[in-house]
Amino acid sequence: MKGVVFNLLEQAVTDAYGDDVWIDLLEEAGVHGAYTSLGSYPDSEIVALVGAAARQLDLEAADVLRWFGRAAMPMLAERYQPFFAGHVSARSFILSVNDIIHPEVRKLYSGAGCPQFNFSNDGEGRLVIGYRSPRQMCHLAHGFVEGAADRFGEQVEIEHMACMLEGNPVCRLAVRWLH
């Protein structure tokens, strides 16, 4: 898992609960805790951190991930402004996610397990996001979509139609825009 995700998690937790909580999480999760965005760290560490946060906050891990994804979006916008430039809607931004992620992962590690996103429209005018990744972080993706909607001042309703965590080959999130 890319270091930037750890950085964002640290920032989200620190902003909401303070520095000390983050340090406690690191220690409870038993991870080494020094993450640079240029690095890549074992997936087990992010899982352990999310687990520790879930226990501390008395939430399900899935809810922690969703909260985190949503809270991280403004931070991403600040750190990676160029990726947001030119997009006038959340949908436009979401469709560009492969362009953002692939080079980011491959520039450091060729062939690294890249999360894959596929986009189509269903009969009801919803955007269907197909997500597949060995890390199975669909709830994080869910949170990112909510965060993207926040950023562009839009309201969305997301249905988690199929999930890798339940044995499906691909996660499918159907996003409906509300006006």
Partner: protein, 674 residues
């Protein structure tokens, strides 16, 4: 105070008191904040640098691929096709199209060179773009013509100068960009691209597109120079044969003379070399040129010999051999009385090409496809004769190498019919006239239990009713429309399978077996297409079986193996279809990781009468078992066949005994009761 200045004075400061700890802590925290800020700035700088480096490397690779493609060919269309395909795949854009500027009217017209990542969904836009014509200033390509620079459109559905807007909106296209292909200062062509998401122009991209435009411009320049040379002179520089201009002059004169003399006939032959392109590709232009010269010399000699032999027996026909294209020759046979002489001449040409050419120590073999058209009262001019000879040549080519075909009314009718079918197929794709039927595949141990279905395409023809593939697949393959149809079949079948699973609450997981046409399989992006369909339909990969025919699988065994491995890594299964009817050797079978074999129905049908057939099937079954492959026997019609195959150890069966191919509702109903 001791002497030594201010620094020395600090030595005598008192040690920190407790309440200074708070101040120290505060300073330490501020230091952490500054360190973090510095770290984040360092990361941002490094990240940006690495990303730019990566993207620039990727774009250089893109440029390299396109340059290689452009250098390998003298034909503009081939170079444009490489460019359009590579750019779309690199940038993950949905559609790319190439247009050329016409010298006569200064407009820019599509030359049927395009790429669509998702052919089925893009079909209407493909049709609207591949031959589209724009005047200067009109539409996206017209803008390039007018301004001689790249253009971007953020949202095509909101653009005032975009005639194809309705079709683009229908296909879900959002953004577009286009670049000129320059020869010197002049726009010779336009490459346009469309995406379903925003396209962000940046300096690097503009730079690379400019370089690509220049490379392609060079190909156009080379082609123009070549045509210019041929046009000005009357002879082809390389082979010294008459060129097209001289040929047409003589042919037209001969035509006029023939019209005046009721007893004389003339004929034209179109001679197209088979396999010339692969010689060029594998051994390079110089070898290709040497081969052309050798071929031309041989044909010239053989025609001269035939002429002389004819003179000796009192005939008086004359023949002119001309080089009219890259690997295309025409022969004019004038003043011929006995039509059979022309057929014999064609045979002589085939014979003289039979022996390989030995050039620079390498053996190269070149055969020809010959189309012949005889004069008759219905022809108004020689162009019409050449057109028909051309049609006959294409028919000869489709029959294999070294063939001759003479144009007849019947051939003409057949061609017209095929053109009609092609036209109707295009309409069928646009109007969604196709439907999938499903034929059950059962376990031979328990024939009441359906393991899966084979998806078979049918065409709901508005006039002719329900048509089976036999009535249209070969036209679809010849015209390349199979790409759109096959793409639709793949997605439709996977969506259907996903729906079966969902409707049975995940209880039943029957597989769907989908035929993949050779052309689909040979597409460079076949694997990506399969992946996209899996993602889009959410079907369980293990419930998808792709059937590939033996013929295409062994065409390039290494590539087939790589494709199969990738597909299997997702859990998709693959079957070798029509097994036993191709020419594969057992060593191929060993190296191609198929999951299943389908025994062709002809073997099953012959089983009743022939112990030999039974023996062959048993051998296939043993082979499959050794290699861990499942076997499905097709065409089971009787209970005797079923029992025999079951005893021999065949796993699954398909055929009229278990059901015909039916619409989805019927097939699903069968599933529910077994």
């Amino acid at each position: 105070m001791s002497p030594g200045g201010s620094l020395a004075s600090l030595k005598h400061c008192a040690p920190p008191r407790d309440d200074d700890l708070d101040a120290r802590l505060a300073r330490a925290e501020r230091r952490v904040v500054r360190e973090r800020a510095a770290r984040i700035e360092a990361e941002a700088i490094a990240e940006q640098g690495l990303r730019r480096l990566y993207e620039s490397q990727q774009r250089l690779l893109l440029l390299q691929r396109i340059t290689d493609g452009a250098n390998r060919t003298a034909e503009i269309e081939a170079a444009l096709r490489v460019a359009v395909t590579e750019i779309c795949r690199h940038m993950d854009w949905a559609f790319g199209n190439a247009l050329l500027v016409s010298a006569q009217d200064g407009a820019v017209t599509g030359c049927d060179v395009w790429y669509a990542a998702d052919p089925d969904a893009m079909f209407p836009f493909v049709e609207a773009s591949r031959h589209v014509r724009f005047e200067t200033g009109v539409g996206l390509p017209g803008r390039i013509l007018a301004d001689v620079r790249p253009h971007w459109i953020d949202d095509v559905t909101a653009d005032a100068n975009f005639p194809r807007l309705p079709v683009a909106a229908h296909c879900g296209l959002a953004a577009a960009c286009a670049f000129p292909v320059m020869v010197g200062d002049e726009v010779a062509g336009v490459l346009e691209f469309f995406a379903r998401r925003l396209i962000v122009p940046d300096e690097d991209l503009l730079g690379i597109m400019g370089q690509i435009g220049t490379q392609l411009g060079r190909v156009i320049e080379r082609d123009r120079a070549r045509r210019g040379l041929i046009h000005d002179a009357l002879h082809d520089a390389m082979t010294r044969l008459p060129n097209r201009t001289l040929f047409m002059e003589r042919a037209e004169n001969a035509f006029v003379r023939m019209k005046a003399n009721p007893h004389a006939c003339m004929a034209v032959m179109v001679v197209d070399l088979d396999g010339f392109k692969s010689v060029n590709d594998s051994l390079g232009h110089q070898a290709g040129d040497a081969l052309l010269i050798d071929v031309a010399t041989r044909m010239q000699a053989c025609i001269a010999a035939a002429e002389e032999a004819a003179r000796d027996v009192g005939a008086s026909w004359r023949a002119t051999l001309a080089r009219v294209g890259g690997d295309e020759f025409n022969v004019l046979v004038d003043d011929v009385v006995d039509g059979a002489a022309v057929g014999r001449l064609a045979e002589a040409i085939h014979r003289c090409l039979a022996a390989p050419s030995v050039l620079a120590g390498t053996h190269m073999r070149c055969q020809a496809s010959v189309g012949i058209a005889f004069s008759n009262p219905t022809y108004a001019d020689v162009e019409q004769m050449l057109r028909d000879a051309d049609l006959a040549m294409y028919r000869a080519k489709s029959q294999g190498r070294g063939q001759s075909v003479t144009f007849t009314e019947q051939l003409g009718t057949q061609v017209r019919q095929r053109t009609q079918v092609e036209h109707e197929l295009r309409k069928a794709i646009a109007e969604r006239q196709f439907v999938l039927h499903y034929q059950p595949i059962v376990s031979l141990d328990d024939p009441d239990s359906i393991c899966g279905f084979e998806a078979l395409i049918r065409w709901n023809h508005p006039v002719r009713g329900l048509l089976s593939p036999a009535e249209f697949i070969d036209v679809a393959e010849e015209t390349g429309l199979i790409l759109f149809i096959g793409d639709w079949v793949l997605r439709e079948a996977c969506a259907q399978a996903a729906s079966w699973h969902w409707r049975t609450g995940g209880e039943r997981l029957p597989f769907v077996s989908i035929n993949i046409s050779p052309q689909q399989f040979l597409q460079p992006e076949f694997v990506a297409r399969v992946h996209a369909v899996l993602m889009e339909t959410g079907v369980t990969p293990a419930a998808v079986r792709l059937e590939v025919t033996e013929g295409v699988a062994i065409m390039d065994a290494a590539r087939t193996s790589a494709i199969l491995e990738e597909i299997r890594a997702w859990g998709v299964k693959t079957s070798l279809d029509d097994f036993g009817t191709g020419f594969s050797s057992l060593s191929y079978l060993q190296s191609l990781p198929f999951d299943a074999l389908k025994i062709d129905r002809s073997f099953v049908a012959a089983m009743d009468d022939s112990g030999k057939s039974r023996g062959i099937i048993q051998a296939i079954l043993n082979l499959a078992r050794t290699m861990g492959m499942t076997v499905i026997a097709e065409g089971i019609e009787t209970v005797e066949q079923e029992e025999l195959l079951q005893r021999m150890g065949c796993d699954m069966g398909q055929g009229f005994r278990y059901g015909r191919a039916e619409v989805n509702a019927e097939a699903f109903a069968k599933l529910a009761v077994c």
